[in-house]
């Protein structure tokens, strides 16, 4: 048997080892060699403060009492960690950008840096954590007692309470030494974190060692173990579905809201990427921690006497089977679990107490900001140290008060439920911008009250705080207010009952009050920064330009941050502003930065109040917020306007480019037109001049010759006149000076006229015309002469240019809507594709064959006429020969002014 003294010696040397490790880590860190001190592994291991003595001893007890339900305590955190992308990532980012020091600080900062909320959460945390610390003390004394009892073979116990006291004192010393080395809570406590990581390894190794001993030493491997489990009293699991779900929820909530978890998860986080590793490594740690719980419980139930405390199976099983070394290891494991939890919890609580209770009180007492005296750092640190001691004293007092009688698990769950009251305000705060300070306050207070009433106070037992009558009949005999059967919900597990009602009423109050009110400007600003933490990479400023004296600010900052650091901060800011010296301009950005820097030490609310005292005006107003939002909105608007403008410019440029191309084309066309027309005019003129010269010079000409020459002159004159007529006609048409002579007519008559006018009596070059006279029977109102002119032109063209041996022309007419479609299709070779675009241009004769017929103005005139008549003429490709489609309305449009055929614009420009 291990003598008690040796056990104490082991214990003391273990603690000494922790001190040394912490000391070494601090030395390393201060030398700048952080290296593995900031690795994801250390971060993950530090999260194991979740696994306290409750886990180490209590889980086995839990399993021995209620079977598989103990797993819920690990499954909840697993879900939260695995789902880190949802919430933890955001929480860590917020913690970093806002320099959050504790969960109370987070909630206070989110809801407009309200200190009242900070105080509420601090009180909640203290009340919720105290039983938990008592639980750790209890587990350590119980485990001591196991060895003592076994060692002395009797009941000659050393004073258990004295043990607890010594443990508490030792822990307080460690925490004060390594937990309050620096004021800035955001600076890593390397010593503490490293020591905790070592403890995490110790407890895992211890529990796994006991598990391996049980499975392979006592039982005969996993198969035998399974058989033993199925033969044990725990063989069949009767799930209480409500508790299964409720416990999972509670333990998941605990990851967010336990002050110590927040401390290691958010405050001590060195790098956001570590969270990615922890998201699977910490569940793995929990997995390993719980893997052997069931086997130990089953073996304990089988080997230990009937009345043995199942909470201590981890110790008593190896001890009773003569494995003293293993039992000592297990004892150390339990000891580390307890100490690490107490250390971190004490740091977290002391930060909250000093930042949210002591500092505001002190500020209030000082009252005048500018005349601050004394070193604030010392004050805050002293407050923290005293708080640590206070927290441990409270835990010890609770331990003495409850007499260490309760099962470990139930104390743990009471504590979990208490701190879980911060969950609605926390999650609402980071995901819902509409959450308000009043809502959070109402939710927290109601949750706290319901928790106290339904769970915490009854947990002391009937007759101690609450009378038995109150518990069974309700206050003043009002049955529906019975603490464990609120609103008549009877027969439910008391814990589940408390969890349900406290969280439900808490959430209702939080949401309801939040929906009701309008938050203040600071709340809205902070709300936006928290909820949109990933969008706001740069910060909206909470301060407007003030007339604060940089010197006053420096004096204050020195008192909190220390001379060197404060001066360095101010100097950096001054340099960034392009100034020299230590006094930068007190711009909003600088005030914001300074406040955040201070918040890392004394919490957001206090920092805000301190800066506010010096700056002299209460930061930001709703109008400022609106102006800020307006500015952003205006920028967005301006940029979208710019975008629209640039699109418009592009459109205009494209139009200009097109117009330019057209103009260039037209200029070329104009030149061609001029040269064409002079050529066309010159040819007849030349022959007229030549023949008239002959006539003038030769009196001896024969009469036949004279007649012959004058007839040539006459013909050429006619040709010239026709050309000029055509030109004049075109010009009149293009200038829109033509007046239409509208009259009703039948299309068939018009075509008859046209055909008759073009029929050559001699039959030379005759063309066969196919018509459908029935289809042509269409009444319309139009300028008959002009339309005939178009038809004649088309028929003449076909006769002139159709290359077929037996030329044929088909004229198809049909009604289409309010108009008529007339196709003139011949059986010639048609017009090549590249020429189709230019045949309607002036002088666009494709070849000189049969050129005598005209000057190439016909189709151009046709197009102009059709435009005047409100119709159009186009070349119709793909008909076998040349095909023209004439389209005209049954009645020309009222405004017979420039009816737009497409070629009109260039035609007019031609004459401009």
């Amino acid at each position: 048997m291990i003598p008690f003294d040796i056990l104490v010696a082991v214990c003391v040397s273990y603690v000494a080892l922790l001190f040394i490790i912490a000391f070494m880590a601090e030395r390393r860190a201060s030398a700048g060699r952080v290296g593995w001190l900031r690795s994801p592994l250390v971060y993950t291991l530090s999260l194991s403060v979740y696994c306290t003595a409750w886990t180490f001893y209590g889980a086995v007890g839990y399993a021995a009492r209620s079977g598989l339900e103990f797993l819920t305590i690990y499954l909840g955190p697993t879900l939260v960690l695995v789902g880190w992308w949802w919430a933890l990532r955001k929480l860590v980012r917020i913690g970093k950008t806002q320099r959050i020091t504790s969960i109370a600080d987070l909630i206070s900062s989110r809801y407009g840096k309200s200190n009242a909320l900070g105080v509420i959460v601090t009180l909640l945390a203290v009340v919720g954590t105290t039983p938990y610390i008592a639980l750790q003390l209890q587990s350590v004394t119980l485990s001591f007692a196991v060895f003592v009892r076994a060692g002395t073979d009797g009941w000659a116990l050393p004073d258990v309470n004295a043990t607890a006291l010594w443990v508490a004192a030792g822990l307080a010393l460690f925490t004060v030494l390594f937990g309050t080395r620096n004021l800035d809570a955001n600076e890593r406590h390397h010593g503490v974190v490293t020591a905790i990581a070592v403890e995490a390894v110790v407890k895992l190794v211890a529990l796994v060692a006991v598990g391996i001993f049980v499975v392979w030493g006592v039982a005969d491997g996993p198969r035998d173990m399974a058989i033993r489990i199925s033969e044990s009293p725990l063989a069949g699991t009767d799930f209480a579905a409500g508790r299964w779900v409720g416990m999972t929820f509670l333990s998941a909530a605990a990851i967010f809201t336990l002050p110590r978890m927040f401390q290691v998860l958010v405050v001590e986080n060195a790098d956001e990427r570590h969270l990615a590793t922890a998201s699977w490594a910490f569940p793995l740690y929990l997995f390993l921690m719980s893997l052997f719980v069931m086997p130990i419980a089953v073996i304990g139930l089988a080997t230990q006497p009937a009345g043995a405390n199942p909470d201590l199976f981890v110790l008593t099983v190896p001890l009773s089977l003569g494995q003293e070394g293993l039992a000592t290891l297990a004892f150390l494991g339990g000891f580390s679990s307890a100490t690490s939890m107490v250390i971190v919890a004490a740091i977290a609580l002391s930060t909250m107490v000093s930042n949210h209770i002591v500092m505001p009180l002190w500020l209030n007492w000082q009252n005048t900001g500018a005349s601050m005296s004394g070193d604030v750092r010392k004050l805050v640190l002293r407050a923290r140290r005293i708080s640590i001691a206070g927290v441990l004293v409270l835990g010890y007092a609770y331990f003495r008060l409850t007499g260490g009688s309760e099962a470990l698990a139930s104390i743990g769950l009471i504590s979990f439920t208490g701190v879980a009251q911060a969950l609605p305000a926390l999650l609402g705060g980071i995901f819902w911008r509409g959450a308000t300070r009043r809502g959070a306050g109402a939710g927290l207070l109601i949750g706290l009250a319901v928790w106290l009433y339904t769970l915490f106070l009854p947990s002391f037992g009937a007759g101690s705080v609450m009378s038995a009558g109150l518990l069974s009949d309700g206050p003043w005999g009002v049955a529906w207010l019975r603490p464990q059967a609120l609103f008549g919900v009877d027969g439910v597990d008391p814990l589940l009952h408390a969890v349900f009602w406290s969280i439900a009423l808490n959430s209702f109050a939080f949401i309801g009050v939040s929906l009701w009110g309008v938050p203040g400007p600071m709340e809205r600003l902070q709300g936006a920064q928290f909820v949109n933490v990933f969008d706001h990479s740069s910060d909206a400023q909470g301060w407007m330009q003030g007339a604060a004296e940089a010197e006053d600010l420096l004096i204050m900052a020195q008192r909190i941050l220390g001379g060197t650091e404060a001066q360095a901060l101010f100097q950096r800011a001054a340099v960034a502003q392009g100034k020299t010296g230590y006094l930068p301009d007190t711009t909003p950005a600088f005030l914001e930065r300074l406040e955040r820097e201070l918040a890392g030490s004394v919490g957001a609310a206090t920092a805000h109040a301190m800066v506010g005292q010096i700056v002299g005006r209460s930061s930001i107003s709703v109008e400022d917020l609106m102006a800020m939002a307006d500015e952003t909105a205006q920028m967005m608007e301006y940029s979208s306007q710019l975008e629209a403008k640039s699109a418009e410019l592009e459109r205009t440029a494209r139009q200009l480019r097109e117009a330019n191309e057209k103009l260039t084309e037209l200029s070329v066309q104009k030149d061609a037109f001029l040269s064409q027309i002079s050529h066309e005019l010159r040819t007849p003129m030349t022959s007229i001049r030549a023949f008239s010269e002959i006539l003038m010079g030769g009196e001896d000409l024969r009469i036949e010759d004279r007649r012959w020459y004058s007839s040539i002159i006459h013909d050429e004159g006619i040709r010239l006149t026709r050309l000029l007529d055509d030109l004049l006609d075109l010009s009149v048409l293009e200038n829109g000076q033509v007046s239409l002579n509208l009259q009703p007519a039948n299309l068939r008559d018009l075509i008859d006229r046209a055909v008759a006018a073009t029929t050559e009596p001699k039959g030379d070059g005759a063309i066969t015309i196919h018509r459908d006279r029935a289809a042509e029977n269409i009444e319309l109102v139009t300028d008959t002469d002009r339309l005939c002119q178009v038809f004649i032109n088309l028929i003449v063209n076909a006769r002139k240019y159709c290359t077929a041996d037996a030329p044929e022309l088909r004229i198809d007419a049909r009604r289409q809507g309010d108009g008529v479609l007339l196709d003139f299709v011949d059986n010639g070779s048609g017009i090549p594709k590249r020429s189709q675009a230019i045949i309607f241009e002036k002088f666009a004769r494709l070849s000189d064959r049969n050129a005598a017929g005209g000057a190439g103005l016909g189709l151009a005139i046709c197009r102009e006429i059709m435009g005047r008549l409100g119709g159009s003429i186009a070349y119709l490709p793909g008909q076998g020969g040349a095909a023209f489609r004439v389209q005209l309305p049954l009645r020309p449009p009222e405004t017979s002014a420039p009816a737009g055929s497409q070629g009109e614009a260039p035609a007019q420009l031609n004459h401009a």
Partner: protein, 94 residues
């Protein structure tokens, strides 16, 4: 005053698309875990369920979850590094 942030792109290249889906998976993982962990409650319609069997089931599900989380964490940490401070997580997020 910061400049208005550029609008989030609606369509992404293959790489970006995959990392978005990884984020979706990461968000779904706790839901899947909850489903797996609540499943044993359905098994007890007729009397208590066998503890060893349930124990093995729960631990297997748990371990599976850890493995998937580990694989995802590696990829997501890379995504986080690449995207720097710009968040893509709000798409479909809370």
């Amino acid at each position: 005053m910061k400049a208005p942030s550029p609008p989030r792109p609606v369509f992404l290249a293959r790489h970006g698309y995959r990392s978005r889906r990884m984020m979706d998976l990461s968000r779904l993982l706790p839901v899947a875990g909850l489903f797996l962990f609540l499943l044993p409650l359905l098994h007890q319609a007729d009397g208590p369920v066998s503890t060893p069997a349930t124990l093995i089931y729960l631990f297997s599900a748990w371990f599976g979850l850890i493995v998937v989380a580990a694989l995802l964490a590696r990829r997501l940490a890379r995504v986080d590094d690449e995207s720097g401070t710009t968040e893509a997580g709000r798409e479909g997020g809370p």
